[in-house]
Amino acid sequence: MTLTARRRLHNAILSVVIILLALICAIPLWIIFINSFKTSGEMMKDPFGMPASFSLDNYRHAFASLPIGRAFLNTIIVTVLSVFIQVFVGSLAAYGMILKKSRFTAAIGTLLVLSFVIPGQTLIIPQYRMMADWGLVDHLASVICIYSAGAAFCYYLIVGYMRGLPQSLFEAARLDGAGPWRIYFQIVLPLIRPILITTIVFQTMSAWNDFMTANIYLSSVDKQTIVLQVFSAQGQFTTNWPLFMAVTTIALIPVFIFFLICQRWIVSGLVSGAVKG
């Protein structure tokens, strides 16, 4: 056998093995999707096969019995506001840190690194008490406040990127008489766009997917985020798995679209966030 033929055979075997492995790993996704069209009886008889017909009954039932639209709206409100706060505050801090190197800014930098060492669980109880004092329990604002602490993480990602930029850019603008705020909005923000996108994508994922904080603070049905909604739907329809699979499919569709659009930014973010980890 010639070398190229051998390599081709090798690649073919690799393709078959790896694609098979990927498909096996994807079986749970298949189970979610395909069973969302079945009846309970059908699903219990065979959870892997095709449904007798692609009936949308479960989807109709899901939308009729659960405030899914409201849950999506809540999730969007919480995600957009908290991500905006985190990224805005984080990028301001990163710029402040670049603006002046002194013992003062260095001390703050060290302080912020602490946030990587303090586990979130340690803060749950005092934070809950604080939110109760502020009267925010069972308001979307409580969750937004808690997520905002992610600003320290955003700062960390952004400042690393900023340090890699030529500092002469900021210097030149300063010599031209631009104030720091103008430099921030007109020069810094456009320059750091790649890392901003990455940071936004990352924080969007963690806010959208969060279960713990939302489950602690949000109890009313009309305040629930989509993940909470699916969770309570499962308690509600324990005996009706196909209906639950339909609810899950609905919840996963935006996540899937988000993945298709943002895959490359997540990957580049993994690297940029990681380089300094």
Partner: protein
Amino acid sequence: MSAQTLSPQAETMDQAAHDRAKKRINLRENLQAGEFLLPVILIFVVITIIPFLESFVFSLTDYSGYDFSSAKFVGLENYVTMFKDPTIMAGLGFTLMYAVLTTLIVTIIALPLAVVLNKKFWGHNFARSVFFFLSIPSMALLGLVWQFIVSPLPSGAVNQFLSHFGVSAVPWLSNPDLARGCVIFIAVWATIGWHATLYIAYLQAIPSDLYEQASVDGANGWQQFIHITLPQMTPAIGVSVFMLLTSGLKVYDLPFTLIGGGPGHATYTVTQSIIVTGIGSNRYGLGSALGVVFFLCCLVLVLVQQAVTRAIEKRMA
């Protein structure tokens, strides 16, 4: 008066004025930087630092969450209670076990998987995307779905599949050891793609002439992996292990939505203990004590991990 004709005395005065001016500019620049740093400091102090210090204070009292002024100082009583509480200890044990095992297993599988996925074969992009997508949905959602898949009932997906081979229903989630195994298996399944993707990004940065040179020297695939890939990947492994450990210690969603921390307390976690004892049954003092002990556990684990990574990097360099 020109600079050359200055008396020595005037010069020192000038120097002093210069120093003052410099200090003023320094102060002004610090204040300017402070303006930008203020929001992050505010958020960090209010949402992280104050609660952090409070949890130390609460842990020394019998605070019940209603009125702190009526709480009594109880010294280390909460810590003693905590170490005697089998439920809390079960949570601590499973959390540490989960963090260590998922870190080990994911690292051992993700690295070779990344090496394979990094090769150019037909369908490599598809395979990468499938593995990666599994790490995008919320763990809580995946836990709920897996409840059906690994249900101990004969109608569970895995049990139905096994029944074709004459295997009777396996008590996946009703046996403590199997339940722990399921939680860890699902976690590995859901995070492997993420870490493989991270490794692929680093693999692509390894200069290809290293491999070419090794091929010329007659090194086979395995030797290349051990002598080139592994050393080049040490920084990436450090990062991935750090992420796995810290997120492993935070575990809550998956065991909670999959099986509610059971059966018994087999898959109970620290986070669940803190929520249940603190917020659920108003034992803020006890819950805070657990939070403090857990902070120390994390600190030790992270410091050890960092020291090990640094030592390995030094040896590799």
